[in-house]
């Protein structure tokens, strides 16, 4: 995966090497956001101490027209939450086959939702972030190819965006999700100030704890804990191992949404259903939001309500691990089981955007979160400045 990304970088640099620096266009964006919760709890990566890291980032992009309908592009992101280490978010070669049809090969973002592709460019929307209950997709970037085709049906502009590729998601060092064969079809219809989109995506999914060494880890851990391999099997630990190599697992994305924006008033709503078949932990996540914004000169106040509902598999079999000493593996499994309890969360967001400069805006919002299952309520306050350059 890393090798692939590096290869893309090399390919990009190689394709640029024949071009003078003046032929390369540079663009960038930044979101510098501070936030803290009220009342001692934690929410969306913040706690009650003012923190600049979770949503602050700087992006730099270089694009070059190589001639013969080819364009090369590279976008590098540095995020506060990963100690400002640079990551490649886009690295592609684009072929503009006709005026209406183009192909993009390389690393790119998948347009699952209305704001997915440019979610890092905070300037392009009023929120600090698009509703986080909805936009927490298991992954958002793939290495692969996409085709973009646009045409008109009367006054309606119809845009088809089909993406195929491979993705992975490593939430922490102990486990990794792989999505080897995503196919995503995204359709947008636009007429006047109204835009609607439909999305269907499907990928097989595998889940691993260090992947290749997983079975060994279980067996070694079992031995360390004084349990024989046979006993380990009996207590269904091997069931977990089966899951990691089961390629029949799949995840599906269903999205429907619409946005009306006449420049002074906007209303946006999306409904998303993620369905996990044969997955170890999750079975379904449904979420939706509705958002209203009204512009008063340079000021745009907005109000958003969102809700998600997560259904999980029965993970009670993991309770058998309690009291055993399976070192990191056991703790990770217990952590996962606790993370994926059935839950419902509602949020209400009230925010303000102030366009104080042609290329920069100040944003502030306050989010009230209510997790109905755990009965945890939190209030999060965030503010900051977003730019494009």
């Amino acid at each position: 995966m890393q090798l692939f990304t590096k290869s893309l970088g090399v390919l990009f640099v190689a394709s640029l090497s024949q071009h003078a620096l003046s032929d390369i266009k540079f663009n960038g964006f930044s979101n510098i956001i501070a936030g803290k919760t009220q009342g001692g709890g934690s929410a969306l990566s913040y706690d009650d101490e003012l923190n600049l890291d979770p949503n602050s980032l700087v992006g730099l992009q270089a694009t070059s027209d190589l001639g013969n309908k080819l364009t090369a592009g590279l976008q590098v992101l540095a995020r506060g939450e990963t100690s400002w280490n640079a990551e490649i978010s886009w690295a592609y070669l684009k072929y503009q086959a006709t005026d209406n049809l183009s192909f993009l090969a390389g690393r790119q973002r998948v347009p699952f939702y209305a704001y997915s592709e440019f979610i890092n460019v905070g300037y392009t929307y009023n929120w600090i972030n698009p509703p986080e209950l909805i936009y927490g997709a298991p992954f958002d970037t793939v290495n692969g190819i996409s085709a973009l085709y646009s045409h008109y049906i009367g006054d309606l502009e119809s845009i088809w965006h089909i993406t195929m590729g491979h993705a992975s998601n490593t939430p922490n060092d102990n486990f990794e999700f792989e999505y080897p064969d995503l196919v995503n079809i995204h359709w947008t219809g636009e007429i006047g100030s109204f835009k609607t989109h439909l999305n269907y995506g499907v990928s097989s999914q595998s889940f691993g704890l260090g992947f290749d060494s997983f079975t060994d880890t279980i067996n070694n851990g079992a031995a360390d804990a004084g349990i024989t391999a046979e006993q380990a099997k009996e207590i269904e630990i091997m069931t977990l191992s089966d899951h990691t190599v089961d390629d029949d697992d799949q995840v599906e994305f269903f999205v429907i949404g619409g946005i009306y924006d006449n420049g002074n008033f906007s209303i946006a709503s999306e409904f998303i259903s993620l369905q996990f078949d044969g997955s170890l932990l999750l079975t379904k996540k449904d979420s939706w939001y509705i958002s209203l914004a009204k512009r008063f000169g340079d000021f745009t106040p907005h109000l958003t309500v969102s809700q998600d509902s997560i259904d999980t598999q029965d993970t009670s079999f993991l309770n058998i691990l309690n009291g055993t000493d399976l070192e990191g593996t056991g703790r990770t499994l217990a952590f996962i089981a606790n993370s994926f309890k059935n839950s419902e969360t509602e949020t209400i967001t009230l925010g303000l955007r102030w366009d104080f400069h042609e290329s920069a805006a100040f944003k502030a919002d306050i989010i009230a979160l209510d997790r109905t299952v755990t009965d945890v309520q939190n209030t999060l306050f965030r503010f900051g400045v977003v730019t494009v350059f």
């Binding site: 663009n27 694009t63 364009t71 886009w90 440019f118 494009v388």
Partner: protein, 144 residues
């Protein structure tokens, strides 16, 4: 004396503001192409060109659109009158396109003179000028 001067300054300022407003309101914009271009273009065609949705003239030649820089009042008149978008909406529109590998905005010229000479020297170009800045080096396809 001082009060009188102050009063006069106010009147002059007020008069110049009114003049400036009427100048913007009555200054007509002309959409211009190279004189050799024979294609008829309506408001919707021009809109699609400047939003990057139409990329070629009917001749099949790739269009080279030129914008005036954002500090030019003609740009605001053009974007609100033809594209139906304000400056912030335009910035947002192009940011979404630029940062998702979908395209790049029209090239920008700082003065109407340099825009006019770019149009006059490129058979596939299109731009806009104040009507009084138009001369025979370019062809008007639309005014508003």
């Amino acid at each position: 004396m001082f009060n009188k001067m102050k009063n006069m300054t106010f009147k002059i300022t007020a008069a110049s503001i009114i003049l400036a407003i009427s100048h913007i309101a009555f200054s007509e914009i002309a959409v211009v192409v190279h004189p050799s271009n024979t294609q008829d273009l309506n408001k919707d065609d021009v809109k699609k060109i400047f939003l990057g949705k139409t990329k070629s003239f009917s001749s099949g030649k790739k269009i080279a659109p030129f914008n005036l820089s954002t500090d030019r009042p003609e740009r605001e008149t053009f974007e609100s009158g033809i594209l139906n978008k304000n400056a912030k909406q335009m910035k947002t529109y192009w940011s979404k396109i630029i940062f998702t590998g979908k395209g790049s905005p029209p090239a920008e010229k700082n003065t109407s003179e340099s825009l006019k000479s770019s149009i006059a020297s490129n058979p596939n170009s299109i731009g806009y000028l104040k009507k009084e800045d138009v001369d025979s080096s370019v062809k008007v396809v639309l005014t508003f």
